[in-house]
Point group: C2
Chain length 212, copies 2
């Protein structure tokens, strides 16, 4: 697929974003398979010419753009906490936010549905999934390092091992929630990993004990 976004003017980028956001809203409300490009045109007030200008390869290209938008949203929904995991309080707030987000979504997973539709194994879907996992993991690792920099976490704590394990735990909790309808495992996985972090907590120079 051609990387059309590169050549777009600010106005063009805004129009493209409007189409993607409108399509994302529409696809969250109804079945991806049954949604046609005409539905997207109607919902976003876009002409066929405009749509094909931004998505010359058609529906799959639009679906990938929506998937990219949904991937950004996965991280946005965890903000501001995800970007500032430098205190135990922000880790707890992040935990609560993640649990609430997925509890509210229940058994729907907009990104997973889009991936299945365009083909999970296609290069475009793979690139979005890899990008999301890598950005997400980097934020978690940055948070653990921030705790260390703040003198709250043992400098010997193995961030490179703990960050991917925490990310896998969250994904697994969500996956079990999607198939069983219960958020028990997501909660247990988050609590287990926060307890592991807390077990490596250190006392601040001030002498106040922040860890458990």
């Amino acid at each position: 697929m051609r990387p059309v976004t590169r050549a777009l003017t600010p106005k063009g980028l805004a129009t493209r974003a409007r189409i993607v956001e409108g399509a994302a809203r529409l696809l969250r409300e109804r079945n991806v398979v049954e949604t046609t490009l005409d539905d997207v045109l109607a919902a976003t007030g876009t002409s066929k010419g405009q749509l094909f200008h931004y998505f010359p390869d058609g529906k799959d290209q639009l679906l990938l753009a929506v998937a990219e938008h949904e991937a950004d949203r996965v991280l946005d929904d965890q903000r501001p906490h995800l970007d500032d995991l430098s205190t135990w309080e922000s880790w707890e707030a992040w935990r609560d936010t993640v649990l609430r987000r997925y509890r509210e979504m229940g058994d729907t997973c907009p990104l997973g549905t889009l991936f299945l539709q365009v083909g999970r194994g296609t290069p475009g879907a793979r690139a979005i999934a890899r990008g999301l996992m890598s950005r997400w993991q980097a934020r978690l690792a940055a948070g653990m390092v921030a705790l260390q920099d703040n003198g709250l976490l043992d400098p010997a704590f193995d961030v490179d091992r703990a960050a991917p394990a925490l990310l896998a735990a969250v994904q697994g909790g969500v996956s079990i929630l999607l198939s069983t309808g219960s958020d028990e495992h997501l909660g247990a996985a988050l609590d287990f990993h926060l307890a592991q972090l807390r077990a490596a907590a250190v006392t601040r120079a001030s002498g106040r004990r922040t860890g458990a």
Copy 2:
């Protein structure tokens, strides 16, 4: 759906199992959506009358029976280790088996595909998913308790918290493997949890140190 299996003779159960196994083989090879009951009849050498005798509610009932078969297989593929996690060696062997199984399956997930087809939120699919998760978690918990009974793991180790967290970690690793194509997180998650177990290892009465 009627629980027809209850009234079946041993011969009837065998015929039903033959249909389910044949359908499972067929559905692992091709797209569930495109597979018709006629394809299943042809592949299993079954008459339409026979098929509707065992699955009076039709395709969805057959798909749920296949999902149940695939759920059993998830656990069977981890045997014999899953049933005897009483030594550190068996935990390591289990880890290797899990990693190999999902690495070989790559981005295919027969059970997930069946759930999506019959509807992940339907009572039948939910019951199978819950049953699988609960049996799987029970085996992992039993393994941790067996380590404790053998004097290899600290009796204070919190099995009730660690078992669901380990299960979530495996599910998450598999989920990331399915979307990114990389088994890195599955390996990291397994290693993280085995390291947590090992960290609570205790020395045997003999004085030989088995833990890390």
